[in-house]
């Protein structure tokens, strides 16, 4: 059956319609026979009946595929070898490699191995096991097996496997006999082998074995996939057991696995009040809430529409891979903890429940019955993949990560290895407090203009608009003075929330016209406040219009044309710091100038900042008010002339969003129309706004750091673009000797790990 499907059909490039493949046809014949005989299990069919079925199969193969089933062993062998090599470039293998970033030129090896049989009767068995529990990291031998079965049967999820031992048993398998009881001798041998294997490989292994007439055979071992919870637990345990050193321990948890621990989970309060409508096996961790779909295509469509899908399948197979990827959660009716869905979900850290046998699935009508209620496509459900429970409707979700002791211990370990600091981008006292919870050691980017967006922005925004549309310098200065208390308050609160760590405050960056109101009512209100006619208002607003605002009147250019804006911001910063120092709070503001292209811009701005500083010190009589002035490096010219720029700047902070934009000449907001094609055609390997372009933008950064430090050896260097939380980019920053990376608060743990891994790799490379 298998040979005809894989070798004669697939490898020959025959692509039958869904449900018409040779395997489906043969499966159908087997099902018919079982029905006729009145049996449900394959093993209940007699040899005589099977023999007849074989003849029937052969006839069918010839009829459907137009070819004899090869009866020559050598022909079979070479056919099979060819089929494996051919499958390297099969559709689903290519799709999988694209998702997993596996190079297409690696190729596969072919393993030809003596068959051993786990289906030789009651004294034979086959199973899959892990040296530790891959779902939670417990240090116990864990696995499943089937008596009188072949390896395929365990993974395929057709029969529910039995637990290896008491540690492998769950609610669904508790009544089934364990291997240590049914075959104690083979179990003992296997247990001894798994211990040796783990010591030898120094990692958790995934083992496949077969017992043929009581004799144990090892079919495979490889480093086992695990979820984030298990990865962290194992790393900490193996370090404690001295199986691995701390650098290796830190490298054992991928940033994606760590991310799982920071995944959304169902709010425990909401869950406590909800009754599960179905229970299955917990195959992939975390919570997921979304609408039901019954096939991969619908899951993909929903994801494209920006919605969460819960993919429900009888069981998943490799053809479902893209839909599984697109879904927020996966629920299957069949299959055990080692089934395809479970393996894949665990590898991705995706919320997944398998073997939920109480589901009544109707794929034709696209309905599923759970807990006495019939659900159709589009209905909402919620999954708890950590428990394996399904709930009706959309339960409230939580951001997780807090209160997890292992997570805290692991991150502490990571912190003990990393050499680079991790800061957060934060614009409010709330953000700052939140960032500290995630372990931020300062703010690398405080956007001063943020107080004009979102909550409580009405009042300051109105004054800002008055400032922007002022008709004279006097009017503008009056508005600026009005704005001052708002700015001071916001800066003070944020520095206080982050103290004693430093806060880098970036001066006004966006183009002013961004703030001009578009709603007529708002325009009228503003015109009234400015005591001007609507016509004058429109005239002034039109005067602010720019053809290419992102490269227009923004950043430091505002401070050059309106020095009073720089002056007011500086005063707000220094007065806030002076007040905090008087209150006994440490405050050493770092003033950051945005969008610099020439050192002379810094010279001019610094003169203003210095003057204001002296005025504030004189006024407040605070003696120990220290500050530094640095610049963003986001225009290629500033990077090229870094030696000069560093002469006037105390620190560099790479704004990699703008630097990427200007180095490529790509407008970040307009890449949608061409970047996908660049990726498809292989012109670019990755979206440079997602993953730092180390070759081009990276070379500019490298040049700027080297030149800057040549001028000023202790120059502080950081990054504050989106890339600050991307693990690969963080590793790049470590290699280039950055002082810190700064990213959004929830990425801080990932950046801490990535920085530690970069340092750990260096240490391990030296040891070698």
């Amino acid at each position: 059956m298998m040979y005809s499907d894989v070798v004669m059909e697939k490898a020959a490039g025959i692509e039958p319609k869904d449900g018409e493949g040779i395997r489906k046809i043969l499966d159908g014949k087997l099902a018919d026979l079982k029905k006729k005989l009145g049996v449900t299990d394959d093993t209940a069919i007699t040899a005589e009946e099977l023999k007849k079925l074989c003849v029937e199969f052969k006839k069918t193969v010839k009829k459907v595929l137009g070819k004899e089933f090869p009866d020559d062993p050598s022909e079979q062998l070479w056919g099979a070898i060819g089929a494996v090599f051919a499958s390297w470039n099969g559709k689903r293998a290519i799709a999988y490699r694209n998702i997993e970033n596996i190079p297409h030129d690696w190729g596969t090896a072919v393993n030809v191995q003596t068959m051993v049989f786990g289906n030789m009767g009651e004294n034979s068995a086959t199973g899959v096991a892990f040296t530790r529990n891959p779902g939670n990291g417990d240090s116990h031998f864990y696995g499943e097996y089937l008596i009188n079965a072949q390896g395929e049967d365990v993974v395929a999820g057709i029969r529910t496997p039995s637990p290896m031992n008491k540690w492998s048993s769950n609610a669904h398998s508790a009544h089934l006999p364990t291997l240590d009881k049914t075959m104690p001798k083979a179990y003992k041998e296997l247990d001894a082998i798994q211990k040796r294997l783990e010591k030898h490989f120094r990692d958790m292994l995934d083992i496949e074995f077969t017992i043929e007439n009581g004799v144990l055979w090892m079919l495979q071992c490889r480093v086992g996939k695990r979820n984030g919870t298990a990865a962290v637990q194992m790393a900490l345990d193996m370090l404690k057991e001295r199986l691995i050193n701390k650098e290796t321990a830190v490298l054992r948890v991928t940033p994606a696995q760590l991310g799982e621990l920071l995944l959304p989970a169902i709010d425990p309060k909401a869950e406590a009040n909800a009754k599960p409508i179905a229970k299955g096996l917990p195959a992939g961790p975390g919570g997921a809430c979304g609408v039901i779909v019954f096939n991969s295509d619908d899951a993909i469509k929903l994801q494209e529409a920006g919605k969460n899908a819960i993919l429900i399948r009888e069981e998943t197979n490799p053809e479902d891979i893209e839909g599984m990827r697109a879904a927020a959660g996966i629920l299957t009716q069949r299959g055990g903890m080692t089934s395809h869905a479970a393996l894949v979900a665990r590898g991705w850290g995706k919320c997944c429940i398998v073997g939920c046998s109480e589901l009544e699935l109707d794929n034709v009508k696209k309905t599923v019955k759970m807990g006495g209620k019939t659900y159709k496509q589009g209905d909402s459900i919620t999954l708890n993949g950590t428990r394996g429970w399904v709930y009706d409707g959309a339960l409230k979700m939580l951001e997780a990560g807090e209160g997890n002791k292992n997570l805290a211990a692991f991150l502490k370990l990571a912190d003990s290895i990393r050499t680079m600091k991790v800061r957060a981008n934060a614009d409010t006292a709330e953000d700052a407090a939140n960032a500290r919870k995630f372990g931020a050691e300062g703010i690398g980017l405080f956007r001063i203009e943020h107080m004009f967006y979102g909550k409580n922005s009405e009042a300051p925004l109105f004054i800002l608009r008055k400032m922007i549309l002022a008709g004279s310098e006097e009017e503008r200065k009056a508005a600026v003075a009005e704005l001052f208390p708002f700015m001071k308050k916001s800066i003070k609160a944020t520095i206080k929330a982050m103290a004693p760590y430093s806060v880098t405050i970036r001066l006004m960056d966006p183009p002013l016209h961004e703030f001009v109101p578009t709603l007529p009512a708002k325009q009228q209100e503003l015109a009234k406040a400015l005591k001007i006619s609507m016509a004058t208002f429109q005239e002034r607003a039109a005067g602010l219009h720019e053809v290419n605002p992102m490269m227009g009147h923004r950043g430091i250019r505002l401070g050059v044309t309106y020095p009073e804006i720089t002056e007011m911001q500086s005063r707000a910063i220094f007065e806030a710091a002076a007040e905090l120092i008087k209150e006994g709070v440490k405050a050493v503001p770092e003033v950051m100038i945005p969008l610099t292209c020439d050192v002379n811009e810094i010279v001019k701005q610094k003169a203003i900042i210095r003057r204001v500083y002296e005025e504030v010190v004189a006024k407040t009589k605070v003696k120990k008010l220290n500050y530094s002035v640095g610049t963003m490096i986001e225009i290629p010219r500033a990077a090229v002339l870094a030696y000069e720029v560093a002469g006037e700047a105390d620190f560099f902070s790479f704004g990699t969003n703008d630097l990427t934009q200007m180095t490529f000449g790509f407008s970040r907001d307009d890449i949608g129309s061409f970047l996908p094609e660049y990726l498809k055609q292989g012109i670019l390997e990755a979206d440079p706004f997602q993953t730092l372009d180390q070759r081009g933008v990276g070379m500019l950064i490298q040049h700027a750091v080297t030149e800057g430090r040549e001028q000023k050896p202790n120059l502080k260097v950081g990054i504050c673009g989106e890339h600050g939380g991307d693990p690969e980019s963080v590793e790049f920053c470590h290699r280039e000797g950055f002082s810190y990376v700064s990213c959004s608060a929830f990425r801080v743990p990932i950046a801490r790990l990535a920085a530690a891994q970069a340092a750990a790799k260096e240490v391990l490379a030296k040891k070698k």
């Binding site: 069919i45 074989c54 191995q113 289906n119 490989f201």
Partner: protein, 160 residues
């Protein structure tokens, strides 16, 4: 100085996925019977599965059903040469099959005591279920009676 290092990095990254030349190195690695030609470090050549089978059979002397691994380089050759194999492969596979027959005391295609093999993929990185696996190669009308006689369990043979 700065430029020098910059160039070095650039070079490292620019390097396109190297097209492997067809090497005339060993194409087939045997394992089983307490020894192995390869070891666990040879993942690039033997794939993850093949390398670990070699490690288990050779280094740890665990009970691994004997067999052999055809290298990933043969796969590259296959795709670069219109789905054909290096000339020496046939002889290498036959020689290795003989070794397996010797260890198992079974014979491929034999009527009385047939050797059956599985044929499985194994890339450097795990790709669960993405490529093909074929079991029970060597089971034919001629060898079926031998298998039944050997196992004394007719049902089992037809089950395959």
């Amino acid at each position: 100085m700065a430029q020098k290092t910059a160039k070095k990095t650039a070079k490292k990254v620019v390097k396109p996925a190297a097209k492997k030349a067809v090497k005339t190195s060993k194409l087939v690695y045997a394992f089983g019977g307490g020894r192995a030609d390869g070891n666990g470090k040879m993942k690039e050549l033997l794939g993850g599965k093949g390398a670990n089978l070699a490690e288990m059979a050779g280094q740890l002397k665990l009970p691994v059903p004997p067999g052999f691994t055809i290298t990933t380089e043969v796969c590259t050759y296959y795709w670069n040469n219109k789905k054909s194999y290096p000339k020496t492969l046939k002889a290498d596979v036959e020689a290795n099959l003989k070794k397996v027959e010797k260890i198992t005391k079974k014979e491929f295609g034999s009527e009385k005591n047939p050797l059956l093999v599985s044929v499985r993929s194994g890339a450097r990185a795990s790709m669960p279920g993405m490529m093909e696996t074929i079991l029970n190669i060597g089971l034919t009308e001629k060898t079926i009676p031998g298998m039944i006689a050997k196992t004394g369990y007719e049902r089992f043979v037809y089950d395959a």
